[in-house]
């Protein structure tokens, strides 16, 4: 008696092999479809907006006339926003990460903080806008200033920076720590002089990626009440301002066809800023990767 029915196996084998190769291409096609979406998106925006890009576009204020509309106030406004967001979010994020990795005892409070950070990452950005509106704009009476928007954005990207910094600190080898203690250094000296320098590439990469998220985020700014038409540059953090995504949102939502070209040009500027920041992150990551 045979255990394997040769004929049945042969008959079924063909179908199985065909299914195998068909599905391989279906999976590949799905992956490529996602990439195709990205290509179409970039192609559309570049072809639509490239014609409007010029030095004037970068140096003009917003205007009622599409051909004169420029992005100066928004570009400078986004830079001002970063001046507030970068130090605030990095100090808070890295501080939290040091506490959680180096000082925190394994207890309920620590677990609660950890759980809280991961939950915070899942809160929609528009809800952060509501928080900013109540706490910073109204309760602390900062108005729709750069400071109010900056604090709101800092809290929004805080979870990303904490998690990235935690990973960077965790990946510093234990021997470095032991060696430092062995030489008589205190805990804080070890953290400042040994652990942080070793972890800084990872922290920077994560922070830059988080900041680039803050630059592209629109919803919280709208909720806070950041205006769009601004004909002056802010002089300090208490001034009102506008930002790149706000300006793009305003142009996109106008009915006139010409403003869509302007919006596309604005998107090119925004994407160029993001590309610049991401390349810095990649360079830092590659330069310092796997030192240990």
């Amino acid at each position: 008696m045979r255990y394997i029915e040769q004929q049945t196996v042969v008959k079924r084998m063909n179908g199985r092999l065909i299914a195998n190769s068909i599905f391989k291409y279906i999976f590949l096609a799905a992956t490529l479809l996602a990439l195709l979406a990205l290509v179409i998106l970039l192609y559309r925006i570049v072809t639509q907006g490239a014609g409007h890009l010029s030095i004037d576009f970068l140096t003009n204020f917003a205007s009622r006339f599409p051909e004169q509309a420029g992005i100066k106030a928004a570009l400078i406004g986004s830079l001002w926003l970063m001046i507030v967001v970068a130090p605030t979010s990095i100090i808070l994020g890295v501080g939290s990460a040091i506490y959680l990795e180096e000082y925190a005892k394994q207890n309920r409070i620590t677990n609660f903080i950890r759980m809280n950070i991961s939950n915070l990452a899942g809160v929609p950005s528009v809800v952060f806008g509501l928080l900013g509106l109540t706490i910073f704009v109204r309760a602390m009476a900062l108005g729709n200033s750069i400071l109010a928007a900056g604090f709101t954005m800092s809290l929004l990207i805080l979870p990303v920076i904490v998690v990235a910094s935690q990973e960077a600190i965790r990946s510093v080898p234990g021997e470095l720590r032991d060696a430092s203690y062995g030489m008589g250094a205190t805990k804080w000296q070890t953290i400042v002089k040994i652990i942080l320098p070793a972890a800084i590439p990872g922290i920077l990469t994560g922070s830059i990626l988080a900041l680039s998220r803050a630059i592209g985020e629109t919803a919280p700014l709208i909720v806070i009440g950041v205006p769009v038409i601004i004909q002056f540059l802010p002089a300090g953090v208490m001034d009102t301002f506008t930002a790149l995504p706000m300006q793009i949102y305003d142009w996109s939502s106008r009915p006139q066809q010409e403003f869509q070209t302007v919006a596309a040009a604005g998107i090119i500027v925004l994407m160029a800023v993001l590309l610049f920041m991401n390349s810095i992150a990649v360079i830092i990551r590659n330069k310092f990767d796997k030192r240990y």
Binding site: G122, P124, Y249
Partner: protein
């Protein structure tokens, strides 16, 4: 003459502030770490306090069971949130229909079929897709996807649920793909090799071994992506319109919860008006929806994880 080591140690022990630093720093860092907790408390308190003010003016049951959302009506404003929830669910449904098959297929391709080199190219590109600001996706939905859809189906209006739904789907593909891929990659190789040795084809290994074994992670990734789709704001604000409707129509203008918050914030609803408080009530509802999804995702990935 240079001081000896003993002298240096003595000197260093004499410095009082060093000891103080060691005591003060952990406290400062603890305070910094508690900022995130304060943020959560701030969010919940803000939403609850302002929502309570809202419910003093609008009865709770009218809000959660009402099927008419007419906040700007001069005669009698109505605040029934169901139309906004229905609008949100329409967009989310389309997004899921687009993103789940593509995202999971991409994850299977990356974890089961792709060579190391292909993976090294494809994964960063997917990350780029995840890094595109949502305002850019919104512009894309409004100026490209909608006109293309209109060319094929003329009955689709300029503002509709389908176009933003598709684009929100594109936006969450990388999330599903990369989280599902992580789950599939953590299925041990030995199980796969066992199945291959028994004569399975690669597809059978993927479909009958890897996917079932990684199912908890895959489902969790989908739930998280749904939560993201529910909270997505700019795409729907630009491309979905601002007509809250309690029906099953996908081709006309709708409004989601997030888009309503943006619509009110953009206008000048004065502080203290019922409309002003209504955005907190809507925000609170949105918050509850996303929280439930996030907790569900955590629960699924813990509770149903296959341990190897």
């Amino acid at each position: 003459m240079r001081p000896s080591v003993q002298e240096m140690i003595a000197q260093s022990n004499g410095k009082k502030n060093k000891k103080i630093i060691e005591k003060v720093i952990p406290i400062i860092l603890f305070l910094i770490a508690s900022v995130s907790v304060l943020t959560s408390i701030g969010i919940v308190l803000t939403l609850i306090v302002e929502t309570i003010t809202f419910f003093r003016r609008v009865p709770f049951f009218d809000f959660i069971f009402g099927t008419t959302w007419l906040p700007f009506s001069n005669k009698e404003a109505q605040f029934g949130i169901l139309p906004l929830i229905v609008g949100t669910l329409k967009v989310t449904l389309i997004a899921v229909i687009v993103a789940v098959p593509i995202g999971i297929s991409a994850a299977i391709y990356l974890s089961e079929y792709a060579s190391e080199n292909v993976r090294r190219v494809l994964k960063p590109v997917l990350e780029v897709l995840a890094g595109v600001p949502t305002i850019v996706y919104g512009f894309f939905a409004l100026t490209f996807v909608t006109p293309v859809l209109q060319a094929v189906f003329p009955e689709i209006k300029i503002f509709n649920a389908i176009s933003p739904g598709i684009v929100v789907g594109i936006m969450i593909i990388p999330m599903i793909a990369s989280l599902s891929e992580d789950a599939m990659s953590s299925v041990p190789k030995s199980i796969r090799e066992g199945a291959l040795a028994m004569g399975s084809t690669k597809f059978e290994v993927a479909w009958k071994i890897t996917v079932p074994a990684a199912l908890s992670g895959i489902i969790a990734s989908v739930v998280l992506a749904v939560s993201r789709a529910i909270g997505e704001t700019m795409i729907v604000s630009l491309a979905a319109g601002s007509t809250p409707r309690f029906d099953g129509d996908f081709t006309g203008s709708i409004q989601t919860m997030t888009a309503y918050i943006v619509q009110v914030s953009k206008g000048d609803a004065g502080y203290g008006t019922t409309i002003y408080y209504s955005i907190y009530a809507v925000g609170f509802t949105l918050f509850v929806f996303t929280m439930v999804m996030n907790i569900l995702a955590g629960y699924v990935s813990k509770r149903f994880r296959e341990e190897y």
